[in-house]
Structure formats: structure tokens, C-alpha cells
Symmetry: C2
């Protein structure tokens, strides 16, 4: 038993040395371009979680929603009530709801202009561009313009882009790409969207 405890301590001491060396080797500080993509849950939810974390550090956060608009989620009023958060829902709903491509394109253009105005604001710590990948997938916005606009930002500004089917060139430009993979999903078992979970 004591031998086991000793072995564990030795193993963990070695692990800590590796861990400490790892941490020490990372020295760069920069505003990250982060992409949350994939068919799984948690892309926007993790982005709003990051917004909350940044607000908790006393920094300002801007949120622009490119597609969802009318669909209010539970966290929105709580986040909007927080000092330092600017929330702009510029979308008009899913593409199959509007059924009007020109209207979708115009809404995404307004959203993009808002995002570009926000990034220029002094002291913004994070910009969340929710469902921007959807706007790109349907070619509602030109990809090169978007990538140029994201790369040309204040050096310490973090940006989170969410949505399925992130374009390869956007992932290429990003510092972090996380794919949310649905290994198992309750919708497949007939469970409906529920308050506090999906919205």
C-alpha cells in the first residue's frame, strides 16, 4: 500500500515535471482566432461560456449573431444584463425560415458591418461571431473579405467564430479549431428540444 502510494507519487512528480516544462515552453500571448465547428452540440454554448469568462476578467465582449435572431436563448438576457457585453442579433432566422436569399444576404452584410465596427472599439477583449460559418457556407458573404477582416484586428483581440461546416481557408487562418462531434444525440432517440438545453 505504501509502495503503491510511493509509486503514484513518483509517477505524478515526473508528470508534473513534464507539465511544468510544457507550460514554460509556451510564451506567446496574442489575440486568438478560434473556430467552433462540427455537427455536435456546444459550439455556440462554449462561445458564450468564453464570453462569460472574459467578462469575469473585467474585459468587454461583443456578440454578433449572423443567423439566429428571433430565437431567444436562456442565456441571452443574463449576458445582456452584464456590464461590458454588447449583443447584436442581426440574423432573421434560419435560411429555411426566411426562404429569401436576398434578405439573408442583406442581413449577413449588416451583421458583418457591425462586427467590423465592434472590432475597432477600444478595449474590446473578445468578439463572438455566432453562426458566421453558416453565412459563409451559403456564400452570403465573400470568404476572402471575411478572412481579411478577421486577420486585420487589434493584436490582443480574441475572436470566436461558430457554426457547422467551417470553410477550410478559415480553419487554415485560425489559431484554434475545435470540432464538436455528436457521438450520440438525444434527438435521434425522439427527445425534443427542451428549455434550458437547446434554448
Amino acid at each position: 500500500m505504501t509502495e503503491d502510494a510511493d509509486r503514484h507519487r513518483d509517477k505524478m512528480a515526473k508528470r508534473k515535471a513534464v507539465q511544468d516544462a510544457e507550460v514554460a515552453s509556451k510564451t506567446v500571448e496574442k489575440g486568438l482566432l478560434m473556430v467552433h465547428t462540427g455537427a455536435g452540440k456546444g459550439k455556440s454554448t462554449a462561445a458564450f461560456g468564453l464570453a462569460l469568462r472574459m467578462l469575469g476578467r473585467g474585459r468587454r465582449v461583443g456578440v454578433v449573431q449572423f443567423i439566429k435572431g428571433a430565437w431567444s436563448t436562456g442565456e441571452r438576457p443574463l449576458l445582456e444584463a452584464m456590464p461590458g457585453l454588447e449583443w447584436h442579433s442581426m440574423g432573421e432566422g434560419f435560411t429555411w425560415e426566411t426562404q429569401d436569399r436576398e434578405r439573408d444576404v442583406a442581413a449577413c452584410r449588416r451583421a458583418w458591418d457591425k462586427a467590423m465596427a465592434l472590432k475597432a472599439e477600444d478595449g474590446l477583449g473578445m468578439l463572438v461571431l455566432d453562426e458566421l460559418c453558416i453565412a459563409l457556407r451559403y456564400h452570403y458573404l465573400p470568404l476572402p473579405e471575411v478572412i481579411d477582416g478577421l486577420m486585420d484586428r487589434p493584436p490582443m483581440l480574441h475572436v470566436v467564430v461558430t457554426g457547422r461546416n467551417a470553410p477550410p481557408a478559415l480553419m487554415e487562418a485560425a489559431d484554434l479549431v475545435t470540432e464538436m462531434l455528436p457521438r450520440k444525440h438525444h434527438f435521434a432517440a425522439g427527445v425534443k428540444a427542451q428549455e434550458g438545453i437547446e434554448f
Copy 2:
């Protein structure tokens, strides 16, 4: 142009019909067992995002942290200040920090007891068990006991379990399993952990 617009409208009208039928086919309401696993970012962040969503719906949320303890993240004080949230950091840090298996086991046992006490509380909408997968991976808690304890809960209580290397039997029992996959990570490019992002 008008023909294009017509085609788009037709396509989206069909898509909406499929979508509506999909939504109508899902009728079950239940408290979900959700697992966020994988080596990517966003497991805990999405769980706290869900907690915020549930709080926004006026429901109570309990959070138990099994491993992290001393390491305070930016969102914690904001969440703790919200009415309806009960936060318990029961961990004593990463296993390679404590280097003491018995102490880790005891801390995880206290955390589990707290989780089981919380689930019995009236009106709890969600229970977040942060890094429980880590406790299971190191066999700090017996897996069958944990699965039994999670399955035996009020029918509308949602549970979110986070952490790498979720055990297969836990994923089997879950309603939702999302794997966060690191397609690209800034640590590999020498970027350090930054305030408002990693903590």
C-alpha cells in the same frame, strides 16, 4: 435572377417541410445525461454555458468540480453571484499537483457525496459534474456506483459530465455524448494559457 430567387425559395420551402416534420417527430421530454469529452477545448466551457442557459430559464443549477479547485476561472465569480447557482469546488488540483492518491480519492468521494446530495434537492434543473471523467479514469470512484447514482435521479433533472476519456459504460448510459476534437490548437504554436481564454 428572379429564377434563382424562385429556385432558392422552393428549395428552402422543401427544407422547411423536412425540418418541421423532424421537429414534430420528437415528443419525448426528459432530464438528459450529457457527456462532454475529448481532448479539445470547450468541455467545461460549454457545460457552464448550459448552466447559464438554465439559470436564464429561472431554474436552479448545481456545479461540483471534481479535480480543479484552487484554479479559479473568470466565469466562476459571475456564476456564483447569480441567484439559483450553487457552486462546489471539491477538488484539490490536478493529480500531478497533489501527488497523493489517497488525498485525491478522498476529495473525489466528498465531491461525489455532494453531487448526490444536490440531485435530491427540490427544483434543481441541472447538475454539472465538472471533470468527473478524470476521477473515473484514475479509478478514484467506482464506475458502477457512479453510473447507478446518475441514472437514479429525478426524471427531469439534466446532468452534464465533463472530462477527457469518458468511460465507454458512461457514454453507453448517456443521452448525449459530444466529443470535442482539437483539429488545431494554439498551444502547439507556443501560445500560452491566457486570461479570459483558458482561465
